[in-house]
C-alpha cells in the first residue's frame, strides 16, 4: 500500500511537473542501465535467487533489451512490482519497460497510455484444486470458493466464465501470489485460479504438491508481453525487435553458442550485423541482435532454461512453439 501511494505521488509529481521524457533510449544510455519492472517473484518468469540474481522468461526480455541498447545483458536494474503498482510505475517513468507477465488487453492498450510490444508467452487461465474434492473439470466447481490475486485479469475472467455458465462462486482476493497460495493451502478456498504457467510453479512450491491437481480446462487467453509508454516510437521499436530477434534466431537455428560462426545465410548475416542496416533506424550499434543472442540466447534456449521440461516448472512448448513447428510464435521479417 505504501509503495502504491508513493508511486501515485510520484506520478502526480511527474504529471504536474514536466512531461515524461520521450527519448527513453538516450536516458537508458546516459544512466548506463535499463530499469525493468518485474514481478515480486513468479517462478520461471521473474524470480530472484537467494543472492538476489533475477532469472526467468520475463527477466530474459529485460536482459535482451539491455544487451541490444547497452551491449551488456547484466546492465539491468530490476524493480519488483505488485500487480497493482505495475502500470503506475511505467506511466510515471519509474521504469523504462514493464516485463511482468502482463496480459495484453484492449483496455490496457488503449486507455492507459501504454503500448504492448509483442508477446513472449501465450498463456491461459486455469485452475488448481484439492485432490480430495474429486473434481476433474471446472464445470464441477459450481458454488465453490476461489483464491485469486487482486489486480489481475483473472478476477474478471472468473466472473465472466461463471456468469456465462450460470454457475455460482465465491472469490477471496489476496494482495500477493504468496498469500493466495497460503489461503488455498489453509483450506480457505476450494480452488486457486491463475494463469496456467503460474499454477505449475505454485503447485511445485506447495508443502505437499501431490495434494493438489491442475485441471485441464483453460477458460481464457492471456497473451503476456513487455509493455512500454506511448509517445516514444523508437523505444517501442527497440523492445519489439529485441523480442523478435530472439524468436527469429530460433527460427534460423542459431543459438548463443553458434551466433558467431561464419554463415553464408543472408538472414543469419543480417542478425549478426555483418550485412544490412537493421540497426540504423533503431539508433543502435551494428551488433545489437548479435549481443542479444550471444548473451541471452534465442527464444527456445530461454524457454528451456527457465520453464522447460528440465526445470521444476516443466511446461511443454504447446502454442509457444515456432509457427514452422505447429505453434503460433512468428517474428515479422528481418530485412
Amino acid at each position: 500500500m505504501n509503495k502504491l501511494l508513493k508511486l501515485s505521488a510520484a506520478s502526480l509529481l511527474v504529471f504536474t511537473g514536466f512531461s515524461v521524457n520521450a527519448d527513453t533510449l538516450s536516458d537508458v544510455k546516459s544512466q548506463g542501465s535499463l530499469s525493468c519492472g518485474v514481478s515480486t517473484g513468479t517462478p520461471g518468469f521473474s524470480n530472484p535467487d537467494s543472492s538476489g540474481n533475477w532469472s526467468g522468461m520475463d527477466v530474459d526480455v529485460c536482459r535482451a533489451i539491455a544487451a541490444a541498447t547497452l551491449g551488456d545483458a547484466r546492465k539491468v536494474k530490476y524493480v519488483p512490482l505488485s500487480a497493482k503498482e505495475r502500470f503506475i510505475a511505467l506511466q510515471s517513468g519509474e521504469i523504462d519497460v514493464l516485463s511482468r507477465n502482463t496480459t495484453w488487453t484492449h483496455t490496457r492498450d488503449t486507455s492507459l497510455g501504454l503500448n504492448f510490444a509483442g508477446v513472449n508467452y501465450y498463456d491461459g487461465q486455469g485452475f488448481m484444486v484439492k485432490k480430495s474434492l474429486g473434481v476433474n473439470s471446472v464445470k464441477g466447481l459450481d458454488g465453490a470458493s476461489f483464491c485469486i490475486q487482486a489486480g489481475t485479469t483473472t478476477e474478471l475472467n472468473l466472473a465472466d466464465y461463471f456468469r456465462s455458465n450460470n454457475m455460482k462462486f465465491k472469490a477471496v482476493t489476496y494482495d500477493t501470489s504468496a498469500q493466495t497460495k497460503g489461503g488455498f493451502e489453509a483450506g480457505r478456498c476450494d480452488a486457486l485460479t491463475s494463469d496456467v504457467s503460474q499454477l505449475a510453479g505454485l503447485r511445485s512450491t506447495l508443502k505437499d504438491p501431490s495434494s493438489a491437481v491442475v485441471l485441464g480446462d483453460v477458460i481464457s487467453k492471456e497473451p503476456l508481453g513487455p509493455v512500454v509508454r506511448q509517445g516514444d516510437d523508437n523505444w517501442f521499436n527497440i523492445v519489439k525487435w529485441s523480442l523478435n530477434a530472439m524468436i527469429e534466431a530460433e527460427e534460423l537455428g542459431i543459438t548463443s553458442r553458434t551466433i558467431d560462426r561464419t554463415s553464408t545465410s543472408p538472414g543469419v548475416q543480417r542478425l549478426q550485423g555483418k550485412t544490412g542496416k537493421l540497426n540504423e533506424h533503431l539508433g543502435l550499434n551494428k551488433d545489437w541482435a548479435r549481443n542479444i543472442i550471444a548473451q541471452v540466447g534465442n527464444y527456445g534456449e530461454s524457454f528451456e532454461r527457465n520453464i522447460g521440461m528440465s526445470t521444476p516448472i516443466a511446461l511443454p512448448r504447446g502454442v509457444n512453439q515456432l509457427w514452422i513447428k505447429g505453434g503460433i510464435l512468428y517474428s515479422p521479417a528481418f530485412r
Partner: protein, 387 residues
C-alpha cells in the same frame, strides 16, 4: 486622501491581512497551474482521465457484501459503495469492541487485586508492542488452522454454523411478518427507555431505586421473540450444498480476523487513555463517594468515570481514527474493504491512479473528520459546565 492611504500602508493590521491574501492567491495559482499541467500531460500521454469509469461495468466479484446489491454486472461506482460500507462496518465493529475491551482493561489496570492488575499490564505490553499487520496475519492464520473445514463445521442447533470460512447465520426473509417483528422490537426499546427514565426520575426525587432489569428482559428480549412466533416470520437457514453453505447470511473469516486484531490492538491504547483519565481524578472524589455510602462499583460508575472520560476522550478520538485508517490493512488478508476493492481491483482494471487514489483518500478524510466531529460534540457535552 493620500496621507490616509499612506497611513494604511503602515498599518500593521492592514499589512498582515494583505500579506495573507497574497499568500493565499499565490498558493491557489500554484495549485491551479499544477493541476492544469497535470491534466494536459495526462492527455498528451494518452491516458484516460476523468470520472467516466465510475459508470463502467465492474466485472469482478466481491466476497464480503452486507446489504448492498452487487454482482459482477454492477458498475464501478457500486463497487466503490460496497468498499465504503465494508470499511465502515469493520471500523464500527472494531471501535465498539476496542472501547469495551479498553474500558475493562483500563479499569483492571488500577485494580487492587494483584493478579488482575498484572494480567492487564501484560495484555497491554504484549499487544501494544507488536505491529498491527503482523497481528492481523497471525489471527487470520490461527483462525484458518484452528477452525474446522466446511464439511466438519461447528453446528449450533442446525441454524448457525462456524468453520474456517466464516460464520453462517439464518437470515430474515423480508416481508410483512419481518416488519411486524421489527416494529415490536422498536416498540419494546422505546417503552423500556420510557420506563427507565421514569425510574431515574423517581430515584432522583425520592431516593427509592427500582430494579428495571425485569422490564428490560420482558420488553427488549421477550417481546420480539413472542412476536416472532405469533406473526410467524420466516427465516432462511444456511445449508451445506456442494462446496459451501448456501442461503442465510455470512460473516467471512477475513472480517473476523481483521475486526478482532484491530479491536485487540487499539484496546491497549484506549485502556491506557482510560487509566490516565482515572488517575487524573482526585483521590478525594473517591473518598467522598465512599463517605456518601456508594459501593465501589457505584463510585466508579457515577463519580470517577464521568470525570475520567473528560480527560480520556481526546486521546481516544485519536485511537478511533487510527483504527479506521488501519482497517486498510485488510488487503493483506483479503477482506474486501475500500482499499482492496477500489484502489486494488478497480485501479488495476481502469488504471486511472490519480482519480482513484484521490477518491479513496477523500473517503478516509471524510470518515475521519466525521468521527472527530461527533466525538468533539460529545467532548463538549462532557466538559465541566460553568467554568
Amino acid at each position: 486622501m493620500f496621507i490616509k492611504l499612506k497611513s494604511l500602508l503602515y498599518n500593521n493590521e492592514v499589512r498582515a491581512i494583505a500579506f495573507q491574501v497574497l499568500a493565499v492567491v499565490f498558493i491557489a495559482y500554484f495549485v491551479y497551474q499544477a493541476f492544469d499541467n497535470m491534466m494536459l500531460n495526462i492527455e498528451q500521454s494518452g491516458i484516460r482521465s476523468g470520472f467516466g469509469f465510475l459508470n463502467d461495468e465492474a466485472g469482478f466479484a466481491v466476497n464480503d457484501n452486507f446489504f448492498l446489491t452487487y454482482s459482477p454486472t454492477s458498475t464501478n461506482l457500486q463497487a466503490f459503495y460496497v468498499g465504503i460500507v465494508n470499511t465502515l462496518i469493520v471500523a464500527i465493529t472494531g471501535i465498539f469492541f476496542a472501547s469495551v475491551i479498553g474500558l475493562v482493561i483500563g479499569i483492571a489496570r488500577l485494580s487492587s487485586n494483584y493478579l488482575i492488575r498484572k494480567m492487564a499490564t501484560v495484555y497491554i505490553e504484549i499487544f501494544r508492542n507488536i505491529p498491527i499487520l503482523l497481528q492481523i496475519l497471525f489471527w487470520y492464520s490461527t483462525a484458518l488452522s484452528v477452525l474446522p473445514s466446511t464439511r466438519n463445521s461447528m453446528n449450533f442447533l442446525d441454524s448457525v454454523f462456524l468453520n474456517s470460512r466464516g460464520l453462517f447465520l439464518p437470515k430474515f426473509i423480508i416481508g410483512t411478518e419481518f416488519y411486524l417483528v421489527l416494529a415490536s422490537f422498536i416498540i419494546g426499546i422505546v417503552a423500556y427507555v420510557f420506563i427507565k427514565k421514569r425510574s431515574t426520575k423517581k430515584h432522583d426525587d425520592t431516593g427509592i431505586a427500582t430494579n428495571t432489569i425485569p422490564h428490560f428482559l420482558g420488553l427488549v428480549v421477550l417481546l420480539p421473540i413472542v412476536a416472532y412466533f405469533v406473526f410467524g416470520a420466516q427465516l432462511e437457514y444456511p445449508a451445506l450444498k456442494g462446496f459451501n453453505f448456501q442461503g442465510g447470511t455470512d460473516l467471512s473469516i477475513e472480517f473476523f480476523s481483521l475486526a478482532f486484531a484491530l479491536s485487540v490492538y487499539t484496546a491497549t491504547y484506549i485502556a491506557e487513555a482510560i487509566r490516565s483519565g482515572i488517575d487524573s481524578v482526585d483521590k478525594g472524589q473517591k473518598e467522598a463517594a465512599a463517605a456518601l455510602g456508594l459501593r465501589q462499583g457505584q463510585a466508579m460508575r457515577l463519580v470517577v468515570l464521568p470525570q475520567a472520560l473528560r480527560v480520556a476522550i481526546p486521546p481516544i478520538i485519536n485511537q478511533y481514527l487510527n483504527l479506521t485508517k488501519n482497517s486498510s490493512l485488510a488487503t493483506a488478508v483479503g477482506y474486501s474493504e475500500l482499499v482492496t476493492i477500489f484502489s486494488g481491483t478497480v485501479l488495476n482494471v481502469v488504471g486511472q491512479a490519480i482519480e482513484i487514489i484521490a477518491l479513496t483518500m477523500l473517503v478516509y478524510l471524510t470518515i475521519s473528520l466525521f468521527i472527530s466531529l461527533v466525538l468533539n460534540i460529545f467532548n463538549k457535552k462532557m466538559e465541566i459546565k460553568g467554568k
